[in-house]
């Protein structure tokens, strides 16, 4: 998360680089296909790429990928709504009460580095083997960045804007809704983007681990059936969904923050 998005302006050099990137990927897949066909790589460990591509349609139709995708998306969006409500509210509360912020910000930062997802057996006991375990896992794992970014956004409001509010004699509520919150919104959205990415990662991961829910469960089921080509295809599908999800969030963030 520390790297910035690579530049995407269409230049001749960029086109050549993108072509080389795609060409290398195609060459790699071709090499794997040849190695499997001539027997150097065991096809019962790595299925041929052609077989994986061929099994996409089967997996999509027979395994109800669309309804699974909707289930994962619903879980992710539910966690996202909870993150927006509780994460942003938590950040605002901690900014409003400085003592609380001084006491708890380090804890929240420490929680951001803690392997919260490993608490999934505990959540299984508390919520049962259902969608709420998955949603709550995604929510708790993604909460720290949202809180931290909300605090950072509000604290980073330019002094001149705060002074404008004061010169208009705004009360605390007006100052928050008219000045602080709009100024902090782009940074809050950075936190929400990170939170949603963490939520998606954890939701798919927990679905896989507890064999329940949408896309994560699909991979687990196919692997347990030893449907190798289907497993690889499902993994590729989940990766594609994740990438589209990240790109959509990035686009939304750029729309919200047109000028850095």
């Amino acid at each position: 998360m520390t790297a910035t998005a690579p530049a995407r302006r269409a230049r001749p050099g960029n086109f050549a680089a993108a072509t080389v990137g795609l060409g290398a990927l195609a060459a790699f897949l071709l090499a794997v296909e040849i190695l499997i066909q001539i027997g150097v790589v065991n096809r019962f460990i790595v299925p041929p790429p052609s077989e994986i591509i061929g099994s996409f349609g089967r997996v999509i139709v027979e395994e109800h990928v669309f309804s699974r995708f909707l289930l994962t998306l619903t879980e992710c969006l539910t966690a996202g709504v909870m993150l927006t409500v509780f994460g942003v509210a938590g950040g605002v509360l901690m900014h409003r009460f400085k003592l609380l912020q001084q006491a708890c910000e380090t804890w929240v930062a420490a929680m951001a580095s803690a392997p919260i997802v490993l608490m999934y057996p505990l959540f299984l006991v508390i919520f049962g083997r259902n969608a709420w375990t998955i949603i709550m896992m995604g929510f708790f794992a993604a909460l720290p960045p949202v809180i931290l970014k909300t605090i950072e956004g509000i604290a980073g409001t330019r002094k001149v804007l705060v002074n404008v509010g004061r010169s208009f004699n705004l009360n605390a509520t007006q100052q928050f809704w008219k000045i602080l919150f709009p100024a902090a919104l782009p940074t809050i959205f950075v936190g929400l983007r990170l939170g949603l990415i963490f939520a998606l990662i954890n939701i798919v991961g927990v679905e896989f681990l507890i064999n329940f829910g949408g896309l994560g469960q699909l991979i687990n089921e196919l692997a347990e059936r030893y449907d190798l080509a289907g497993t690889y295809a499902a993994i590729c599908f989940v990766i594609l969904v994740s990438i589209v999800f990240f790109m959509a969030l990035e686009k939304a963030e750029r729309w919200l923050r047109p000028v850095d």
Binding site: P6, A110, V117, L118, V238
Partner: protein, 264 residues
Amino acid sequence: MAETGRLRRAAVAAPALSPVTLLRLAIILTVLAVWELLSHSGWLYRDVVPSLLAIGHALTSLFTSGDYYFNLGVTAAEIGAALAIGGLSGLAVGIVLGANRFLSKAFESYIYYLGPTPKIIFFPIMIMWFGVGPESKVALGTLSCFFPVALSVAAGMHQIDRVLIRVGNSFRANSWQMVTKIYLPAMRHPIINGIRLGLGVALIGTLLAETKLSNKGIGFLIINAYSVFDMPRMYANLIVLFVLAIGANALVGRFGGLHSIKRL
């Protein structure tokens, strides 16, 4: 004199416990009291919230058990191996991508978008490739660790002062000298930051893999405690794990001079 007086007043006025410490203590005590109340209330299923005493007993038996240290050693070795393999390969790929603009444009976006995908879904493949033993856990940890290190190093390479690179070139430094004398010293912070992020995800990847399929390691102990519904033991394992994970993260941060525990 005025300065001395102010200092003296400050020294006199300073309370034994600052308000922040008092609030922290109050929060901790409240949480513990509510926990204990819940454990005795009967509102939740028995042992979902075990009493603090039971967790304390479980912690004691954890620390006095040789079996725990064996499993801790297994997990630490797996994470260490994952960090070494994933970190070094991430470092190498990051340096290559950062040093060559064309390669960066061709391949960095793949790493950038693959980086935040859920790595645990690759576990069935890792089992196929490396078996059900510790190797598959190391492989998953390596895969998790590789991306943040590579991205952080590549970003760090882009930010190196051009003057330093020109100095290296004007001394006719070869590739190895450029890496060891210019790139690595100039990128200390991005590398440490990448390793810190890599450590976190390698730990998660390795332990999640252990909870899914293994017969040793801390992840196995956690899922084993869950399967026999020994909740105090599960809480004890989680508490120790969280303390170790947060401590390791803070240690790497301090080692690299990063003052925040995690800034996303």
